[in-house]
Amino acid sequence: MTETSMNIMVFGQLEDITGAPAISINKVDNTELLLQALYVRYPALLQKKFLLAVDQKIITGKTEIGDKAEIALLPPFSGG
């Protein structure tokens, strides 16, 4: 990971789309830009439901992403 990239943890079956449980993308400043970048790189994510977490906090609106922030994509699970 270089200084200009950020790590994203991918949970559950979203890994089928990203191909790995952790991915790296170019650093962006907020979650809106992050989602745009993710959708460009993985268009199939558009069809999936998931939560976005920044530093272990699930966020719903536009949120700043600090340096070294930990990002996670969390889909819903239904199995029992």
Partner: protein
């Protein structure tokens, strides 16, 4: 309850510093409803019974099958074909005759759900499908019952504690604060295809039982306003915090009457694509008279749409605003075409006129993408 029982059977947890007789007595008086006696339900039932829970209700209409046995460890080969609730109840009774077991050999639906859960202090969701999970969540919010949630997928699990009383009127977050809408088809993988390693629901169900015990006894910190995730592949555990979601209350039924009118079975979008129009047809319709465009996304969602006039009614609001849609042709759009499909289906059903409601296929994102390509 005989005191000697308390001292002997539960001695090893009663002597625990921070647990003690008060915690044990709270457990002995608790009434817990466990919905689903499958992969998660088995360890939940076993540990809650062993720990001395006063009364446990078990809901499941299913029979034991051979494909259950690798993970549903209450059952053995001789139980195949028998009622899960009945077998579970017999085995749990042998384990601890002090626990009162109430059998519900039924499929929980919205008509029996509220009545059953209202008799319990805590509800445990061990089901395996989104329809039941959303219904149980909503019922617990309406009835003011704490809900212990857990779910698995592949090698991973999630655990959370919902709807715990906080002060006089307030309650902590619930499942709709995380995921306000039930996922549509294609938004998550079909569970039957996904497979599960036997021990995983054992681990996650045990965590769920632990959260029940913590909540009842007041010992420790239950996962309130938090979502725990566990990954069996790398042993990674993470706890995520979340806040109340503005959409949650919009999606919840506001009273029992509305609860009974909810369509949990079909909230998942049906596969039929009958309302969908492609971007080309959409563009052709844009210029026609008597056509109204409705954006059903949430107000904060991007991209903004400046290319054509439209009205904003979020999918959550639409249920109460269907009558405002008026006559003429109405085209719904959203981000990727899933919610708009739901909106079109809702409107078509409300007006009984399927012919005049449409949904933009692929949503505004693919529409914008197409137009960006045409520009270059």
């Amino acid at each position: 309850m005989a005191d000697e029982n308390l001292h002997e059977r539960y001695q090893r947890q009663v002597i625990l510093k921070g647990f003690g007789e008060a915690a044990q007595n709270a457990l002995l008086q608790a009434k817990v409803l466990v919905i689903g006696a499958g992969g998660l339900g088995c360890p939940v039932l076993q540990y809650l019974t062993a720990a001395g829970t006063g009364c446990i209700g078990i809901v499941d209409d299913d029979m034991v099958s051979i494909t259950n046995l690798h993970r549903q460890v209450l059952f053995d080969s001789n139980d195949i074909g028998k009622s899960k609730v009945q077998v579970a109840s017999e085995k749990l009774h042998l384990m601890n005759p002090d626990t009162e077991l109430i059998e519900y050999k039924i499929y929980l639906d919205k008509n029996n759900c509220l009545d059953i859960i209202s008799g319990y202090d805590v509800v445990v969701d061990c089901t395996d499908n989104f329809s039941s999970r959303y219904m149980i969540n909503d019922a617990c919010v309406l009835k003011g019952k704490p809900l212990i949630f857990a779910a698995v997928s592949g090698f991973e699990g999630q655990v959370a504690v919902f709807n715990v009383a906080k002060g006089e009127k307030e309650r902590t977050g619930n499942y709709r604060d995380l995921f306000p809408h039930q996922p549509g088809q294609g938004e998550v993988m079909n569970c039957a295809e996904a497979g599960v390693l036997g021990v995983l629901p054992g681990i996650i169900g045990s965590m769920q039982a632990l959260e029940v015990i913590k909540l009842i006894t007041g010992v420790g910190e239950p996962l309130v306003n938090q979502l725990l995730t566990y990954n069996a592949i790398n042993n990674r555990v993470a706890v995520f915090e979340y806040h109340r979601n503005i959409l949650s209350s919009a999606c919840l039924p506001s009273d029992e009457k509305e609860f009974l009118e909810m369509d949990y079975k079909n909230e998942c979008i049906k596969d039929s694509r009958q309302f969908e129009i492609d971007a080309e047809t959409f563009d052709a319709m844009l210029s026609q008279k008597n056509t109204r465009l409705v954006d059903v996304r949430e107000f904060h969602e991007l991209p903004l749409v400046n290319e054509f006039e439209h009205t904003k009614i979020t999918l959550a609001e639409l249920r109460n605003k269907l009558h405002e849609l008026g006559n003429g042709r109405i085209i719904f759009f959203c981000q990727s075409g899933i919610r708009s499909q739901q909106a079109a289906a809702m409107a078509a059903e409300y007006f009984g006129e399927p012919g005049r409601f449409f949904s933009l296929q692929g949503g505004i994102l693919s529409w914008k993408e197409l137009h960006a390509k045409q520009m270059t």
